[in-house]
């Protein structure tokens, strides 16, 4: 299987799906000649032409609204928001409109659209270009929030997202764009709403998303040499969340740590923990249930500060050790 980057995997999915389904089109800022702020849509204008790679003015709300309108008429738009932070400019369209249309109109409308948005810190983009807003988006039933952590998942989830009849927020991570992994060249999908055990283990369940999956896997590998076996679960879809998979895992391991880059207060770790603690799996919990999340601050610019604002491998390792060794 060829090894490609996370960014290339997403491009491959878009490319292949546009070849397969002529209803699919792209729209967003600078996605044409420039090739997208991160180069993700590079080459696509030449291949598909201006009619299917639409460069838009800087009008995030209307970019998303345009996708909605086109989706209502049976198109399959894939909109790009240059940074996830800008989703806030279009949140009315996403949250008040797209998320609610199917429900509010009594099941008579469908809005099959994808909004891509690279989030996360680590690139020195500071407070307004580094947020992880996935927890915010999880408050809008009707939306689907997917969040791939590997190139393989990114392609499979993108193909699923475009074919899904609901509005999908496709949350990418800037730091992951350059990570490489094996990705099949052909067509395959990863089901929406299904978590994956990225690494099985008996001692503790760690639920993590996007870049935190990678970090946790590195820690798990290290701890494995000392006999601590960490089970790493990647929800892949945050809304709807595959609570079942997490419950099953915690019932086995008796310990749970949730790791995410999004700010701690109101972050989705709380949702995972509440789901577990309030379920029959409560009786299998054998250590405090913990979360490790981004600090409750805007992401700072300075490299050191930026790093300290979100969980790093050393933090994850320390937390896992304390839980497994019964020190907390």
């Amino acid at each position: 299987m060829p090894e490609i980057t996370y960014l290339e995997a997403i491009r491959q999915a878009l490319w292949q799906e546009m070849k397969r389904d002529e209803r699919v089109f792209l729209l967003g800022e600078d996605i044409g000649r420039y090739g997208g702020a991160f180069g993700l849509t590079h080459g696509m204008l030449d291949e598909f032409g201006e009619e299917r790679v639409l460069e838009t003015p800087i009008s995030e709300a209307t970019i998303v609204a345009t996708a909605i309108g086109a989706a209502l008429l049976g198109m399959r738009p894939v909109a790009e928001l240059m940074f996830m932070d800008f989703v806030l400019l279009s949140l009315d369209q996403l949250a008040n409109q797209a998320a609610k249309m199917h429900f509010m109109f009594g099941g008579r409308a469908t809005v099959p659209m994808v909004v891509r948005m690279p989030g996360g810190s680590g690139s020195g983009a500071a407070s307004q270009h580094s947020q992880s807003l996935e927890s915010v988006l999880m408050q809008f039933p009707g939306l689907i929030v997917v969040n791939p952590s590997t190139p393989y998942d990114a392609k499979g989830l993108m193909l699923s997202a475009i074919r899904n009849p609901n509005p999908v927020c496709f949350v990418e991570h800037k730091v992951l764009y350059k990570t490489k992994g094996e990705v099949p060249e052909g067509d395959y999908t990863i089901p929406i709403g299904v978590a994956e055990i990225k690494r099985p283990g008996r001692d503790i369940t760690v639920v993590a998303n996007n870049v935190m999956v990678m970090k946790t896997l590195n820690v798990a590998e290290k701890l494995s040499k000392e006999g601590i076996e960490v089970e790493v679960i990647d929800p892949r879809t945050l809304l709807p969340l595959d609570t079942e998979a997490i419950l099953k895992s915690v019932a086995r391991t008796g310990r749970l740590l949730v790791v995410h880059e999004a700010c701690q207060t109101g972050g989705w770790a709380g949702e995972v923990i509440a789901s577990v603690v309030g379920s029959p799996v409560f009786d299998y919990i054998d250590a405090p249930v913990r979360r490790l999340a981004g600090k409750d601050i805007p992401i700072p610019y300075n490299r050191g500060l930026e790093k300290s604002a979100i969980p790093q491998e050393a933090d994850i390792e320390q937390e896992i050790r304390a839980l497994v060794e019964g020190r907390i």
Partner: protein
């Protein structure tokens, strides 16, 4: 504010000449009259039902604005798309919606257009390309860009009509959408239904320069500003606009000046406008009254016929209430349905 001056409707000859120019048959005119009566009765019935405690939420009534809805429907095709604002009963009726299903939705019944999930503010009928009313002021304006884009991509002849109020013209998305729709020359007819007040805010206090329609100039969109209580004048403007759009020339912007009789919503006590103003519009500029006068003057209808049509329209509404009241409530067991397709 003008005081107690009845609006001069002009001579019989002028009216007949104009109607002839526009190619409007007697049957069409009678149909328009019927539509306006139906809308008026729907709104007054809604108010009555509300007072009787049969309506759970709120509602936004369009009594007084019937000519805009009727004028648009005369100019467009049944398959054209409609994106509407929250004061939308009239436009839906004019577009040919099933009154029974509308009333059922208004009363929150399972037989309603939205299975009781939307209510007055969100009635939609996707089968007749009615893409629904929006509860967020201006929320539909940018969506019309997408509908227009899809129509263009799909190389279809239909257009998208997007109606919004004077208040919505001050939302940021208004400008984003005007720019993009013009940039891409999309088949969208924007209708600003200016009823003078954005809730309580007078349009003159809210907008730096009037008429609102001239904002279209900034985006190179042709525009017109018309008397929204004169159904023929509304039709005239809409006809020009629709022809322009359907010929592939891109969007068009029409502002129709009108007036609502009821408050913004049920909680409105009309503290921001004098009673005399409301009475003036009701007594001297009412769209149905003006149009009826023309029809009588030109002997298209006699008084008895006019009254009969009006009574028939009322019956349609009474029947719709019967249908709605007899309809079942949505089953609570279906609560979680329709969240995801």
């Amino acid at each position: 504010m003008s005081k107690g001056q009845e609006k001069d409707i002009g001579s019989r000859e002028q009216f007949e000449e104009r109607v002839k120019q526009l190619g409007l048959s007697d049957d069409t005119l009678i149909g328009v009259y019927r539509t306006m009566c139906t809308v008026r009765h729907f709104e007054y019935m809604a108010d009555k039902l509300y007072a009787a405690g049969k309506v759970h939420g709120t509602m936004h009534l369009s009594a007084g604005q019937e000519a805009v809805a009727a004028g648009i429907s005369m100019a467009v095709c049944p398959d054209d798309y409609l994106i509407n604002h929250h004061r939308g009963h009239g436009h839906f009726i004019a577009k040919g919606a099933d009154i029974n299903l509308m009333m059922a939705e208004f009363l929150g019944k399972d037989t309603g257009y939205n299975h009781g999930r939307g209510g007055s503010m969100h009635i939609a009928d996707f089968q007749s390309n009615n893409l629904g009313a929006n509860g967020i002021v201006g929320g539909g304006i940018p969506q019309a860009v997408g509908v227009g884009l899809a129509l263009k991509m799909q190389k279809r002849k239909e257009i998208c009509v997007c109606i919004f109020g004077d208040g919505a013209a001050n939302e940021g998305v208004f400008h984003e959408a005007m720019n993009m729709v013009a940039l891409w020359k999309l088949p969208v007819l924007y209708v600003c239904e200016n009823n003078k007040y954005g809730m309580s805010m007078d349009v003159e206090r809210a907008s730096a320069k009037l008429p609102l329609a001239q904002r279209a100039d900034a985006y190179g969109i042709p525009w017109a500003c018309v008397d929204g209580n004169d159904v023929v004048e509304v039709y005239d403007a809409m006809k020009t606009a629709v022809e322009h759009i359907r010929s592939g020339n891109g969007p068009y912007f029409v502002e129709a000046i009108t007036y609502r009789y009821f408050g913004h919503s049920k909680s409105d006590r009309n503290l921001y406008r004098p009673k005399e103003e409301i009475e003036d519009w009701k007594q001297n500029r009412d769209p149905i009254m003006r149009f009826t006068k023309h029809l009588l003057q030109s002997e298209i209808l006699d008084e008895g016929q006019a009254q009969e049509i009006d009574a028939q329209a009322e019956q349609v509404i009474v029947k719709a209430v019967e249908f709605a009241e007899a309809s079942p409530e949505p089953d609570v067991s279906t609560l979680m349905e329709y969240v995801y397709a």
